[in-house]
């Protein structure tokens, strides 16, 4: 894909990702996250990973975020009140975040591979859906099944924690 499109989608992701945090209206935050996910999906597709990209849209934008929106609306969350910002704490947080990013960027900048262009990816001869499928059910069979257990844990947790106790 052309670098032009990459920058568009990457920028879209970052801008709307920041929007998630900065927006005070929870609905706006949720929708920003949806757009951010769409940008991510586009980036996946640009790497010929159509399957992952589409799943990203289907699962996150299409299902998870709809449920988020649903809950935000049901709970009738209003826009967050402007509260006094604790300048010291925010400054500290920003300083730590900036320091970490600068360190990482510095290391990446001095990294030998980062100065040379990335070799073009070998064009996969296998359909990426087949590829993902066979990997998932052969090499990564065990993690795949464990993820099932993980989802079970999440289900139990949600039900237990959100169930109203009858007294």
């Amino acid at each position: 894909m052309s670098p032009f499109l990459f920058w568009i989608f990457a920028g879209l992701m970052l801008v709307f990702g920041a929007g998630v945090v900065l927006n005070r209206n929870p609905v706006a935050s949720a929708l920003s996250l949806v757009v951010s996910f769409l940008g991510l999906a586009a980036l996946f597709m640009s790497l010929d990973a159509y399957f992952i990209g589409i799943i990203q849209v289907l699962v996150y934008a299409g299902a998870v975020m709809v449920l988020f929106l649903f809950i935000i609306m049901l709970l009738d969350l209003r826009a967050e009140k402007l509260r006094k910002i604790n300048w010291l704490a925010s400054a500290g947080g920003i300083a730590v975040a900036v320091a970490l990013s600068v360190q990482i960027l510095y290391v990446i900048g001095n990294f030998r591979f980062s100065q040379q262009p990335f070799p073009p990816l070998a064009r996969s001869t296998v359909d990426d859906v087949h590829h993902v499928g066979s990997l998932l059910f052969e090499n990564y069979n065990l993690p795949f099944q464990i993820i099932g257990v993980l989802v079970l844990v999440a289900t139990i947790g949600v039900v237990v924690l959100s169930k109203r106790e009858l007294r």
Partner: protein
């Protein structure tokens, strides 16, 4: 840059949008009114043009010139955004549907991607945003209830929708929609495998889960498009019209268009998956009886006519399904909300799940 590809794609997009979908939407609305009138022993719209055929034009003119009213406490940005979000996904979904064979050697599908059906689901699942936001941004009680109902309904039925198609892809082995069509040309339609190795009993055994899939899928499509008997989000008697109550003029029109466009897309997907898409077998007695295949591969006029015939076949099939949609709407009563949820989660979800296993077992016993 491949300019040929871009030009033909643009032509296909414009053609499908302005020559086929939008007129089809208008005339589906017209058909809805005429058919409902027929079912209820009325006359229906018959004043504008011969047999009321220009009624859609009049409707659109009316919508455009109506006062565009928005409630004072509505959340303006989302209030405007919602109708667009309702219409766009329904149309974008058409990008991967193979609506014809080839025309002038160009395949009649806009984007033949290898995850076609997932693309359909992914984009269709975005359609719910328009409805939810419309209901929420109106800042009004009934629309809000409509929006909430719709989101929970769509999410519930998306599961059955997704699970119902898995057996098909187990059989075909590909997620690409053109491959599904190719399979159906070689082996017969999904629900009626009368072509190819049709004497093989395994093929007919497989048709049973396909039939189950078809039923589950179409019911789920009814729920996804908020059509009766599942039109709870816009149940007039309960919600005064539902999520679009506060909308007027063309914004209301966009919701309306979106709903019918979703119906057309849904029918198109059903046709593609279960009824052989653009394929219509013609009985032929040249050298013994067989089913002849008409497609756009011939030379000159033969090819062009064949291609056009395929497109026409596809949309004729879609039209038949649309008629069924309308027919159902005017003959069945509405479900109660809890019944709808129970049906989705307790009945169709399980059927679809079991169906996958049955298909897999049959395939394991009779490998292709």
């Amino acid at each position: 840059m491949d300019y040929f590809l871009i030009t033909t794609s643009l032509l296909k997009i414009l053609g499908i949008l302005f020559v086929i979908i939008l007129p089809m939407v208008s005339y589906t609305i017209y058909a809805e009114r005429r058919v409902s009138a027929f079912i209820q022993d009325r006359v229906g719209p018959n004043r504008v043009g011969p047999a009321g055929l220009f009624q859609p034009v009049a409707d659109i003119a009316k919508l455009l010139f109506k006062e565009d009213f928005s409630p004072r406490n509505a959340n303006t940005f989302y209030y405007w955004l919602a109708p667009c979000l309702a219409l766009i996904p329904a149309i974008v979904t058409f990008a991967v549907v193979p609506f014809g064979s080839t025309l002038f050697g160009v395949p009649m599908v806009i984007a033949d991607i290898n995850v076609g059906i997932l693309f359909v689901f992914a984009i269709a699942s975005l359609g719910v945003y328009g409805i939810v936001l419309g209901g929420w941004a109106s800042n009004s009680k009934y629309p809000f209830l409509g929006g909430v109902r719709s989101s929970s309904q769509m999410i519930s039925y998306e599961l059955s929708l997704g699970l119902a198609v898995i057996p098909i892809f187990l059989v075909v082995g590909q997620l690409r929609l053109t491959d599904v069509v190719r399979y159906q040309i070689d082996h017969g339609w999904m629900i009626a495998p009368f072509l190819g190795d049709w004497t093989n009993p395994a093929k007919w055994l497989l048709a049973i889960p396909m039939l189950v899939s078809f039923v589950v899928f179409s019911v789920a499509i009814f729920a996804e498009t908020n059509r009766l008997p599942f039109d709870l989000p816009e149940a007039e008697q309960e919600l005064a019209g539902g999520y679009n109550t506060e909308y007027s003029s063309m914004k209301f029109g966009l919701f309306f268009l979106g709903e019918y466009a979703a119906m057309i897309t849904g029918s198109a997907i059903v046709v593609t998956l279960f009824f052989g898409a653009w394929h219509l077998p013609i009985p032929s007695w040249h050298g013994g009886f067989h089913w002849a295949l008409i497609d756009g591969s011939g030379d000159g006029w033969r090819g062009i006519l064949g291609g056009l015939f395929n497109i026409a076949t596809f949309f004729a099939k879609v039209a038949v399904l649309l008629f069924v949609f309308i027919w159902v709407r005017w003959t069945l009563p509405r479900f109660r909300y809890d019944q709808l949820m129970r049906l989705g989660w307790v009945f169709f979800f399980e059927i679809a799940l079991v169906n996958i296993f049955i298909t897999a077992i049959i395939l394991a016993y009779y490998p292709a």
